[in-house]
Subunit: 370 residues, 4 copies
């Protein structure tokens, strides 16, 4: 359990939402559009938060929660808590220290950091700058398989512990905030800038980078990576139970139930709503993680009670990064962990293992998105 107490004395920023508001002021317009935007009418993006709020907790009492145990097992390893930093591209758009700052915040809070393919600092540089942390590597599989293999090899060599293959971006979603902005990401790694430039790109917008991604990716490719790569493969971006089963059949060791932060296809289900059927279909044969809309300790409790082994947190860490670099990202994680600890206690569970679906029921209230 955590010793961190959240008090107003430390700072006026005492919730993840506070950091969200502060980050809106700290980011320039282009970066704000890039990070904050979602697909289409942003129904799914807003619903990612609302979906957790539509779940009610049924607390137990008087079980003696003086000592709580937040630890979980992820990919066979014991971790002090279930929170993972989601892969997010172009973090130097948020703060000059970018991914290195995030890695420091991860290490300070014993959170796993998942580094993105479109990071603005390469995986070796992050690994060398912050030797201590536990990290995963997120992979977009490019049409140019050679480049993808290079990225994987680098990650393996630098101690990344899992390969998280994102499968929900065969084409880029309709992101209007981004289309209306002029965001340029010259910060991306030279490897990829070379490829984009060679392909005729010049503006170096996020859309140009994503055009490197193979729209024809198939399950056989996942199987290939699972057999070729020494790291366990996690498939990120599953929303149907059928697909979770197929993932297992093709060698996945983990599933991230995700709609890409509401940035890809609008009006798909939230992670919260898609999770239970996938947990049931996977039946304990792989780890199931979930992301999208985690903003409160109660959200973490709900995800775990519904059967997730871990949760990924994205934009809030970015907000911390934008507001105050590594310290801000660390503070965001500390707030979330502190809230999670408190929620676990008040739900009446002494450990994550005690949580189960009986702690959750459909909320009788209506949480209207927005």
């Amino acid at each position: 359990m955590l010793d961190e107490d959240v008090t107003a004395g430390d700072s006026e920023l005492i919730s993840l939402a506070d950091y969200g508001r502060a980050a809106a002021g700290a980011l320039d317009a282009g970066a704000r559009a890039y990070f904050a935007g979602g697909a289409g009418d942003e129904i799914t993006m807003r619903d990612n938060l609302a979906a957790w709020q539509r779940l009610a907790i049924r607390p137990r009492t008087l079980v003696g929660v003086g000592n709580r145990e937040l630890s979980v097992t992820l990919l066979g390893r014991r971790r002090p808590h279930p929170i993972v930093i989601a892969p997010m591209a172009y973090q130097r758009l948020a703060h000059v220290d970018g991914e290195i700052a995030t890695a420091r915040a991860a290490a300070a809070t014993e959170s796993i950091m998942c580094l993105a393919t479109f990071s603005t600092t390469t995986s070796p540089v992050v690994a060398e700058a912050v030797p201590g942390g536990s990290r995963w590597f997120q992979l977009y599989v490019f049409s140019d398989r050679g480049l993808s293999r290079e990225l994987v090899t680098q990650a393996v060599e630098h101690g990344y512990e899992a390969l998280v293959i994102t499968v929900d971006l065969p084409v880029v979603g309709v992101r209007e905030r981004e289309l209306r902005s002029e965001v340029q990401v010259q910060l991306a790694t030279e490897q990829m800038i070379d490829r984009v430039t060679a392909a005729g790109g010049r503006g170096l917008t996020p859309a140009e980078f994503t055009s490197l991604i193979d729209p024809d990716l198939r399950w056989s490719d996942i199987e290939q990576f699972a057999s070729d790569c020494p790291l366990p493969v996690i498939v990120k971006g599953i929303l149907r139970a059928e697909d979770a089963v197929i993932a297992l059949e093709h060698g996945a060791r983990g599933i991230v139930v995700s709609n890409h932060g509401g940035r890809q296809l609008d009006t798909v289900l939230s992670g919260a709503d898609a999770l239970p059927a996938i947990v049931e279909a996977v039946g304990g044969l792989a780890d199931v993680l979930v992301d999208g809309g985690i903003r409160r300790g109660t959200d973490v409790v709900k995800a775990l009670a519904l059967g997730a082994q871990g949760v990924l947190v994205g934009r809030p860490v970015l907000w911390g990064l934008a507001v105050d670099g590594a310290g801000g990202a660390q503070r965001v994680l500390e707030i979330l962990l502190s809230e999670f600890d408190c929620a676990l206690a008040l739900a009446g569970a002494r450990s994550v293992e005690e949580l189960d679906p009986s702690f959750i029921t459909a909320a009788p209230w209506v949480a209207v998105p927005r």
Copy 2:
């Protein structure tokens, strides 16, 4: 599949909703009232949009969507995509080029255009001005059957490929925006102006033109048109499955599930909500199309997944027309087609044929109209 990319560089207008906002400024008050208004409290008009948003997509992943096939079969002919321009009256109120501009946009995007009985350019003139496109003719059956037959004969002679008989306007709905405005439509064809004038009309409001329509139309009339007219007959304005079956029995080759854009009877079901029961009742014996509230590529995917063969799009094309004539209408169709292509890919379907109801589930969120 389409090659058009939607980028902000082309224009500030990147969504159908953008065109809606821009059109509000481009139209004069009377035309705006006529085109934008719905019946009664406009609950159904607003719900036409909300109903699509209450459907969630369940995407599949990793099926290899590098090449998508948007084509469909409508009335036995292969069409490059399922989007049809809905019949809309008095298009010269929106732009001086009126129906001819719309026909050009249709031809440029290979969309079927459905010309309205109350067009401000006659069917022969449209056909001669834009020789290339594929067009249907929408018919209001008048008490004066002779006039109706003239209109049909003209359409047949000028290559219109189907007869779309609108059956949900025995009387005109309570449209308050229109009643409050002073819109005059002296632009209607001389044929009809003569009839209205002869009948004592002088103001030439839309309501006066609609008074020509036979309120006593019956299924036997549909059967008559189906047997007399060489074109396939599509019945537009069905919301009950029972009526869809009756339509087939009277010779209809297609059904348009429609509430007339929310302009006729307030608080009827949306096309989205009425569609599934009608698809089931029709059982593949005729084509089922749907209209009302289609504003996003995801809406098109949902309509097709629920079993529609095609969708009609109305007001958005009008908005494009009002903003920029043929070019604006074309751009609206291109945006919608581009979004449809993207949504198909992200839903995990390589072609329209792969869509089925398993892609759709009731949304767990609440889309409040407005």
Copy 3:
């Protein structure tokens, strides 16, 4: 069917809601508080409107609706349409002509008028001023049964055709708008002013008049009136099916499903929601009418399709009265009748008799009160 057409040329007031807005300006603050207010948080008052909006119409098509028949049978007599003016107290607060103006509007539109016990013109005076109309008399049963009997005798002698006994006011509801206003109703008939004054009253607020009502009224009293009075007895204020059955057993010839316009007990069901179970329980053995929230012709169609024989309309008539005396009240009724006629046609029914519950389904949208 009606010949009245609603066009903006006649007036800017083309809907009942328009009259509501206009009346708010025409009434003084006290009268506005008295007429507009509901009980408690006014949840039920708002829901009275929303409940009709939560019902969707399933229209039929092509049945030939050139000639519609709006007539119904009420208490064994054929009436040209199903609309009844609800009993409303103190109408001279709304307009100097008060109940006499309302009676004129009723006669002009062939609507039944239900005169209130707390009318500001007595039943004989109304009957003499407007000889032609069809009228019912609403009775509050007072602790002083003699006074009640006097009122009934007067009504019988002056040709009132039914006795509508209100049973949902054993005590007056918590009406905060009224409590906050200073409304005085010195206009009430001398008979009752004498009684109130004799009982020590002086301020003559509505609450003082209602204190005359017997809080201990029972079913046996209804039976007494039913056997003593030559007029058919209608019991107004029933919301439970069990009570409707008891009413029949005690001689009621009709039931008004009503929550007193949301003015008595907040958070009770609307008439729209309570109606179906009561229709089923009554099983055709008596007439069932409904009131509360009828603002549109579609609402009337829904009430009749769910099995009501008639609908009572209250506040909208009052709004018309406040805006323009008899003419305003008449216009409100004409608008509603015109909308009803239009809605019947567009629902696909040639007569009221053709309506049945298959025309109605629960709306898939959410009508949030307010």
Copy 4:
């Protein structure tokens, strides 16, 4: 039954909500934050009110409600009505007379007052200042069991009639309004100030006082108090039916279904929603009370109809206290009792005993929290 009538003449404050608004102006910022705030996003705090509004009343008619009986049996004693003042800490933050004023209001209205462990006046002082009333004592069990025993002994000696043990605060919830404020509660009793000071505390924030509470409390502790203490034990803070059964097994004579006013764990069920299952599980073997969001007489009727023996009312009494000391608290209770009496009559019940679940149904409307 009560003789109090609520009329605007007495005061502009005629509803509990009026007192809420007035109190917001009367309290300083720190006290307002402390009393008004809830946990997390305050979803549960808002839902506590909304949940009662989502229940509809099904009134009976004509049962003769001239004489109503509001009395109930609580812990085997007949009480004139079912309303209990909930335990609330630090009442001298709201008004200089603090708990003594509340005790006077309780005595004047024959309401039971539940004194809080963190009262700013000790239980003996309250008992001596207001000899007449009926009082319960709320206990937080401290890690320092000796101090807890002292508090219980004092309460027993001074005539408190029940021991209400709060079990939903093993740790303090995430209360952001409180964290953002600087509220200091030096007013707490010296006994506890000594302990906090000895433990190194200095600021004397509410959080420091709550740190005295034993997070490891278990059911065996309840059993200990039930057997050691001569007073009946009520367990406050139960939301699961399973826990209610366990409470009975450990000697509880009563249960308070409560989420601590939404101040502990956000997104748990309201008392209104949790109540029915607990009533069923308890099966009459103990008294079930409920708190949270009671603001109207209709709420009291609903709680009793669903099977509660009594209701606790918290913040509204505080508002009355803040606005006008003992007189304000008394007025709040009088308004609520008057509304309760009115609602009972209009629901068609002559006594609390006549209420049962048939009076309640799920509301067809949607009460959106806020």
